[in-house]
Structures are given as structure tokens and as C-alpha cells.
Symmetry: C2
Subunit: 571 residues, 2 copies
């Protein structure tokens, strides 16, 4: 390469040497004839200075923002140093300058702060990505992937590829379909995950597999969902849950150290699904702050409060420093609680020696005191079923943490959630669904057979700061158990044969015990780069309505293409 | 992990120690009550022995091939050593044995040599992949990818992901389409390559990008093609052809060293497209053997041979050691020549002091002698146009090399082919097509404008042992040149706007000079593992009719799925 340096490298030690630089013009200033140019590349910025006596001065005057140029010059000490930038003590006295390409005035400001709306940013994604803050998201993503992969390779995992043109097995989310030209009326499907393929790798004896796998779900998108996403898909044979935890913990410890220089302590805490619901009201507990849920059912037994009477339980949580909690505020919070299946929200506030709140008229002084509230503590209470009380108080806990700034910055709290229910019962459809997926091993196959409502799964999620960043399980490796599972899910023999026939077959030829996990890469990058927008960490994301604003995709196609597929558009 | 060793590890140094192994039963033998079990895992094989007095003897008797077992035992010296296997000097005297899973009798032999037909192998791919030779293909693939990636990361390339749900821009091969549910009648397309995205990364300022990218082409398959394939997609800014060559050579040198312990010498030879056609009759010359094409036009000028008269040229090649060449053999070769656009095949053979062949009656002794044929040399001659003579003699050269075993084993000859024509003219459609793709930079834009037939491209292929393993180019970075290119290809302004509008737009905002290359991973793995079947190096390949025999995909889908897409099947 003919260039001598990138634009973040030069400092006082380079004074006097000749350099050859290239990049984009971030800014120009003309100070009494001296022309200053901020030259940017993916690494940083260097200041160039072109003097009026320079043979390229006329050329330099033509330069506008975002022109691509190359320049030769001598590193000199700067008069007005900028100690905020790595190259701020020097500048380059240019003796040769070439414009490699011009630029129209860009439709958005190319700097960390931009005023552009999201639609504009997505339409001109190639310019949005030129902003240093955006480049950093993708560069960190690159570093995170390299670190995760290196750990897996060092641990003896093989990186193996699985097809994108797969088979539609609708169970769970909606498939993206790909019409076949050679078999009109038949379709491939894009994989929702390589689940079956990775289990086949175990059956084939590869023992340790991983893949940075693209997955697809044609679902109505939420703000943190994309139609295609990337998971680090991992599977091993001859393992138990603790072996899987161990490898994932290694990945996390290494990656946080390498990419963020952050020491993460392993092993991570483990909590059962039930305990998490009980204490945090969610299966994705954020451990960066306290405010645990507490059971007040016993406490209120025998106290006649209309709101609580006839309810199976009453649970609550205590907000400290709740000075600002007013009736109006509680009304807002009640809305939030009700949106999350809470029946009602009661509260008791203790401040300056007296109690206020919606239920204090039902309580005597002794009862109030035994609530053990400190100065400015507010106790929030929700009556109802375990599920409803948990989900509503869980949501309230998060809401209060956000509103009262209880979440410390740059803290990473991992936790494993295990001992999940195997199945969920859909009251409307009167059938079971797999809580994870139908290949998850039951803790006890007899329970699955005789009492499926009680069946527990050998499943585990890994949660970071209140986000599920991965989930996995020990898989079924026994053909009979797999059939029982499909039976329990209400699949007919024909269904099973048609969709999973080859897989059930495969299980009978010496399938080893195996299990694994898939990490959600996009979410991990999001958490490690401290952004809340998943689009920031994907180079070319789609909108919430699954549209590519830049390419204008999806789009219409030639009639000839449809004819070849023997397809017609229309209801 | 509770297991102490893999099955390739134990040798004389381990005698006396207790080990804990697991794997698949490759074979059992019962010799006078002593039960021998060959235990296999992905690394190798260990012999277990179970004695009749063992508490697990009854269990062991039940074991059949492909059962999954685990065993504890003591390493002992073997009586009948097998020095052909790494563990052949020891065996494991088992004291504890557990059957983890049983196996039905597999439908194909699980060993390097199998008698199964390809259809069976594809249907039971998970068993086919259990054969050590097949595991080795994918393990080598893993190693090759890691090595290529490591070189690129070390050189400062970022691994960045691009969408699979892209836009249909039919130009070149046929797209796979994905119907959109949210916009019925609109379609995404699977990428034929990430070409436009990688150029956008350059425009966005990432400077050095790569991706192990899945690509899709809905073409009628040849035996070495698959509907989806993997390429190592590479792009850099501020580079010329030599910079791209340099990074690719580094990749190859490192990878051949790491994976095959093979020293490859860089820089590789460079040859122009025209020279390659002239000397080898192909743009993918195999340099492992000689037999260069030679021009005999001058030689035959003035000699009256009906076959050659009125033909623009006559070219030939000399086969040494052509003892076995007979008229009958030449007739077969003539068929091959004609299939490859050759008009006719003449020959002159010199053996034991005399000449034979189809044209010797037209030549006198002096003329024959000046052909300079050595003992058992056969000169093959084809008359016709440069293109036809080249392609037919090029094909003949390969045919002879194969038939006469002229290709040395384990030799790797790389060559760069550059200076390609920019365009191909389709006489039927009366229009130009891009020889590489429409983003390839012309050597001279003025020639493209004024004399497109003569326009040359800044394009280059890398060829290994007669296979194109990668191709690339310096790209157009100037908006006007890109428009000129689309014009020359006969795209209307509306076409350009509809398909590539955003991209032509992008070029005007400070696009740096850039270029790159894409390596065909599947083919590289094929060549490095010495197989000729591309399916061998893909875990779950499709048949030549794009079918997945194992999953039975493509398949029909539920009516509900089609309804949601507002699609109807039918002509």
C-alpha cells in the first residue's frame, strides 16, 4: 500500500517526517489564506494545512466536505493544539494533493451527531454508516464475532455451514418461502434457526459445532426485531447443562475482556424460572438493581381490604427515595400495571413520620409499622393470580428503575435461568405448545407422558441486564421420547412424517446425548455498544415494516420471473 | 468434560492409566469369549476389550455397530499390534461400560469405503457424514475458512454482514425470489453475490471488508454447481490490482501452509486473458503440465491441404509418449474437439522413423521433418477461427492430460489471468453483456464510449490447477462512467433508476477508488481435499435438480401460507 499512515496515527513523534495520507474531507476552514482540512478515515482524523504558495492551492480551494483526497506532506507541530484528539498536537504541511473523487452536498451531516430523521438515515445508509459512531457499532460487532469465534475454535468446535434453502415446517413463527422453479408449486423455506441441522451434525458425529447463522422469521416486527437476524449457533455431544454453561461463560468472559476490557466473573448466578418469576416478575431479570418482589399474602390475611379480598395473593415491592411519588404519579403507574395484566395498584408511602396511600384507611398504626417502611419508602401492592401479579409487578419494577434512574451505567449482570416448564397450554386452541421448541428434552419423560402440564424442560436461558441474549437446552436423543413429544403437541402421525419424518428416522441410528445454545448476536452487540436501537448494529437493516428503504425492497418483479415459477399474484 | 481422552490419543505412554472414553461402535469381534470393540469418534479409533468376567459383559454382548457407548478402563499393551493406526499399540481393558443409545442397522456402511449409491448417501446424509473421509472434508473446510479469515483479520479487514433478503436486479443469472407478506405482489431476492453491498461499504468508508457470504443462483445446475454456494467476498478502498493480488496471495500461502503444510510460492505468475487463450486455449489454464498450443498457420501457408484451406488459422499441440494413438483413438478425440467448437482434428505421428496421420500425404519429407517431432510424438492440429481453435485445442489438451496421466499429484499451480475484455457481444440479442459484471472498471472509459468492442476491463481471475477459484476487479467509482456502462449494456434510464438508482446516487457522495475479489470457497476446499465432487465439501448439498433428498425439499406448503402471501400456483 502506498499510503504511509492512517488518520489516527500521527503525533509529536512523527514531526519532520514525510507522510502520504488519504481519506474523506470532514471539514475545511480558510484562515487568512491558510487552508485547513480535516481528513477522516475509518480510524480517525488528521489536520492538513495548505499554504497559499502551494502549487496545489487552487485545487485545494475546490475541495468541499466528503471529497475523497490523497495528500503528501511533512508532519509539523500545531500552533493551536487540540488535546482532545490523538493527532491534535500535529498537522500535515501539504506539498502534494490530489482529488480522487468529488462529492455532492450530502443529505445528512456526517458526524457523530446528525439531525437526520431515521427514514433519511436508512435511505442514505451508506452515508449514515460513514459517521464515526455508526462505524464503531459495526467495528465492535466485528470484534465481538471474532472473539466469540476464537473461543469456540480454541475449544475444539468446528464451524460448519447449513443450508439457507431449507424446508418449511411451520411450528412456531411464520416461514419465509422461496418458490421452486424446477418444481412449480413447491417451496423452500428460509431457516428460522439451524436447529435440526445442528442436531444432525451431532448424529453425524461432529461432536462440537458452531455457526454464525443467519435466521429468518416472517413475523410482525417489534422495534427490536428484524426479519433476518444472526445467531451464534452452538451444539455439543456428550454434554449436560453445566458443560454448555461453561463454554458460554468462557465466551462471555473472553469477549468482554477483549472487546471492552471488562472483567466479567464466571460462573454466573443460576436461578430457576419459578424463582425469577417470584423475585423479579420476569424470566429475564435485570440484576443491576434490587427492588425484589415480596409476598404480602400472609400479611393481609384477615385485614378487610375490598381490593384484596377474594384474591389468591398480594405481592409488592418497595421503592426507596420515593419522595416524588404522588397520587397522580400512582395513577400513571397504575395504567402501566394494568397494561401488564395487573388488576390494580395500591400503595403505602411513609414520609416525615406519616403514612399516605390508597389503603391506609384499612390499616391500624401497628399494621402500618410492621410494613417496615423507611423514610420516603413507597410500598406498591398488586393483588391477583401468581402470573398476573408477577408480570405486572415485574413491569412496574422496570418502569420505576427507569424513572428513578436506579440502573447503574457500564455494569454487566449475567444470570442463567433454568428449570423451565416444557410446555405451554393454549386455552383457546386447547393444545400444548413447546415453550422452547419440540426438540427440548424433558427432565422426566414419564412426567411428560402422564402429566404433561407438570413436565419440566432441560432448558436454560442466559440473561444479561434484563435481556435474554441466548437460549438453549439439552435435546431429546431418544426416538420414542421425540415421538411422545410430537404426540403431546397434537401432531398427527402424518404431520410428523411429512415435516420431521427424516429426523425421527435419524434418531434411531446411534444419536448421542447432545445439547447446545444459540446466542443472539445482534442483541449482544447492542448491549455491548450501549445502544438501544437494534438497527444501529446491523449494516443494512429493514424498517419495522420489513422494508429496505435504500434498495426499495421488496419490489415488483418481471412477469417472466413469475411465469417461470408458475405463480400468480392475487387473492 | 468428564471424558478423559478422544479416540486417537492413547498410545504406549498411557499404559497403566485409567481412561474414560465415548463414541460410536465401529466394529465388534468376539474372539474366544474376549469381546473387542472398535470405538470411533471424530478424531479416531480406540480398541476396547471386555473380558467374560466383566460385570458389564452381558451389556457388551448386546452392542451392535453404531451404538453410542461410554467406557472406563485401563490402558494396556496390545498383543497383536496394529502399527497402521495411532492407537494400534494399546487397547483399553474395560471395567465399566454404558450404552448411551442403540442403533438400527444403518442403510450404508459407515467407513471410508461405502457401497452406497449417491441417492442413499444424500438421503441418509447424517450417516454418510459419519464416515471419516467425509468428516475430513468438512473439518478441512473449517480449517481453510479459519485460515483465510485469520489472514484477512490480521490485515485489518472487517468482517461485515449483508442482507440475504435483498432486491431482485435480474442481470446475469436468475434470482431466487421471496414473496413479501406485508406487500403482496412484491418480492425480495436472495443475493447472487453481495457485490453492491460491498461497494456500499467502501462508499461508507470501511476501507477493508470481507464476508464468508452465502450466494444464490437459480440456474440449471451442472455437476459442480449448487443453488447456494459460499464465497469469501473481499473489497478494499484505495487499491489497485496489485494490492488485491497481494492480499489474495497472502491468503493462499498462509492457508496452504496451515492446512496442508504445503509451501506455495508468491507472487503467482500473471498472464493476460489473450495469452492464456493463445497458449492454453482457455481462460483457466492448468499449469501442472505443458502441451502448449502452437500456431502453425505460417507453417501450412502455401501447402495445399483441403481441410486447412480458407481457414483463418491452424493451431496445434504435441503429445509426447503418444505410442498408443491410433486412428480409432483420434476419431474419439475428434468427437471431443467438435463438441468444443473445433471444425476438424488432423494429426501427424512420428514413430520408429516413420510418419503416420491424416495429412501426411500432403507433406513432403522435409516439411515433415521441420515439424520437429520426437520419437512417439503426436502433433494434433485444428483449423478455424482463433476462438474455435483455442477452445477446441484447450479442451483436447485437458482430455489428453487426463487420458495419458500427465497431471502430477499434490502439485498446486496458481496463475492470475488479467486484461480481460470488458464486454461480450450477443449476436442474437444484438446487445452487450458485461463479461464480469457491470461494476467492473474499464481500463479506459473513452474506449468504452467510442469503441466498446475493444474496451478492456480492470478485471482479474485467480486460477488454481485449471479451476477458476476467484475473480475480481477494480470497480467503477465515477458516476458518469457507471452511467456510460449501463448505457452501453442497453439499460434504459428507467431500468437503471428502478434497479440501481440508489447505487448510482451513492456514487456521487465521495466514492473512493476501490476493488476486490471473491473466492469460491467450495471449489477451493474441493481442490485442497483432492475430491472432484463439490457435494463432498458441502454438509447438506442439493442434487443436480436442486432437491434436498434428506429433507424432501422443496415441498408443498399449507394453503394458509399461500393465502397470506396472496399467491396462487398455476400457469
Amino acid at each position: 500500500m502506498k499510503y504511509t499512515h492512517h488518520n489516527h496515527e500521527l503525533n509529536k513523534n512523527h514531526i519532520g517526517i514525510e507522510v502520504y495520507l488519504k481519506g474523506w474531507v470532514a471539514k475545511t476552514r480558510n484562515l487568512g489564506g491558510l487552508l485547513f482540512i480535516d481528513l477522516r478515515d475509518r480510524f480517525g482524523m488528521t489536520q492538513l494545512v495548505v499554504k497559499p504558495e502551494n502549487k496545489n492551492y487552487e485545487t485545494a480551494l475546490k475541495i468541499r466536505n466528503e471529497f475523497v483526497i490523497e495528500a503528501k506532506g511533512i508532519v509539523i507541530e500545531r500552533e493551536n493544539k487540540n488535546l482532545n484528539m490523538p493527532t491534535g498536537e500535529i498537522e500535515v504541511d501539504v506539498f502534494d494533493l490530489v482529488i480522487l473523487n468529488t462529492s455532492d452536498n450530502p443529505p445528512l451531516i456526517i458526524a457523530n451527531d446528525t439531525d437526520a430523521l431515521e427514514d433519511t438515515r436508512l435511505k442514505y445508509r451508506y452515508l449514515d454508516l460513514r459517521r464515526p459512531v455508526m462505524q464503531n457499532f459495526l467495528i465492535k460487532r466485528h470484534e465481538i464475532v471474532q472473539s466469540i469465534r476464537q473461543t469456540l475454535v480454541d475449544e475444539g468446535f468446528y464451524e460448519l455451514e447449513t443450508p439457507i434453502l431449507g424446508k418449511s415446517t411451520p411450528e412456531g413463527a411464520r416461514d419465509y418461502l422461496v418458490p421452486s422453479r424446477l418444481y412449480p408449486g413447491s417451496f423452500y423455506a428460509l431457516p428460522q434457526s439451524p436447529q435440526i441441522y445442528k442436531q444432525l451434525f451431532m448424529i453425524a458425529g461432529f461432536e462440537k459445532y458452531f455457526q454464525v447463522a443467519r435466521c429468518f422469521r416472517d413475523e410482525d416486527l417489534r422495534s427490536d426485531r428484524q426479519p433476518e437476524f444472526t445467531q451464534i449457533d452452538i451444539e455439543s455431544s456428550f454434554v449436560e447443562e453445566e458443560d454448555v454453561r461453561e463454554i458460554i461463560e468462557k465466551i462471555m468472559v473472553n469477549t468482554f475482556k477483549k472487546v471492552l476490557n471488562e472483567e466479567v466473573k464466571a460462573p454466573f448466578e443460576i436461578m430457576t424460572y419459578h424463582k425469577a418469576m417470584e423475585l423479579y416478575g420476569t424470566d429475564k431479570p435485570d440484576l443491576r438493581y434490587e427492588m425484589l418482589l415480596k409476598d404480602y399474602t400472609e400479611f393481609f390475611k384477615g385485614i378487610d381490604i375490598p381490593l384484596f379480598n377474594d384474591e389468591p395473593m398480594v405481592k409488592g415491592l418497595i421503592l426507596e427515595h420515593g419522595e416524588s411519588i404522588s397520587r397522580k404519579k400512582v395513577d400513571q403507574l397504575t395504567e402501566h400495571v394494568k397494561k401488564n395484566h395487573g388488576k390494580a395498584l395500591a400503595f403505602v408511602k411513609y414520609s416525615k413520620g406519616s403514612y399516605t396511600g390508597s389503603i391506609i384507611k384499612y390499616l391500624n398504626e401497628e399494621q402500618l409499622q410492621s410494613l417496615n417502611l423507611g423514610e420516603d419508602h413507597v410500598l406498591f401492592l398488586v393483588p391477583g393470580s401468581f402470573d398476573d401479579v408477577s408480570s405486572s409487578l415485574g413491569a412496574l419494577r422496570i418502569e420505576l428503575a427507569n424513572q428513578f434512574n436506579l440502573i447503574p451505567k457500564d455494569v454487566y449482570k449475567f444470570i442463567w435461568i433454568n428449570e423451565w416448564p416444557l410446555l405451554e397450554y393454549d386455552e383457546e386452541e386447547k393444545r400444548f405448545y413447546a415453550k422452547h421448541h419440540p426438540f427440548t428434552a424433558p427432565v422426566n419423560a414419564l412426567v411428560l407422558k402422564n402429566n404433561p402440564h407438570q413436565a419440566m424442560a432441560k432448558a436454560y436461558d442466559i440473561v444479561l441486564n434484563g435481556y435474554e441474549i441466548g437460549g438453549g437446552s439439552i435435546r431429546i436423543h431418544n426416538q420414542d421420547v421425540q415421538r411422545l413429544m410430537f404426540d403431546t403437541l397434537g401432531l398427527t402421525k402424518e404431520d410428523v412424517q411429512h415435516r420431521f419424518g427424516f429426523f425421527v428416522d435419524a434418531l434411531k441410528y446411534g444419536t448421542p446425548p447432545h445439547g447446545g445454545l444459540a446466542l443472539g448476536l445482534d442483541r449482544i452487540v447492542m448491549l455491548m455498544t450501549n445502544t438501544t436501537n437494534i438497527k444501529d448494529v446491523i449494516a443494512f437493516p429493514k424498517t419495522q415494516s420489513a422494508k429496505d428503504m435504500m434498495m426499495q425492497s421488496p419490489s415488483d418483479v418481471d412477469q417472466k420471473q413469475l411465469d417461470e415459477l408458475e405463480l400468480k399474484v392475487g387473492k
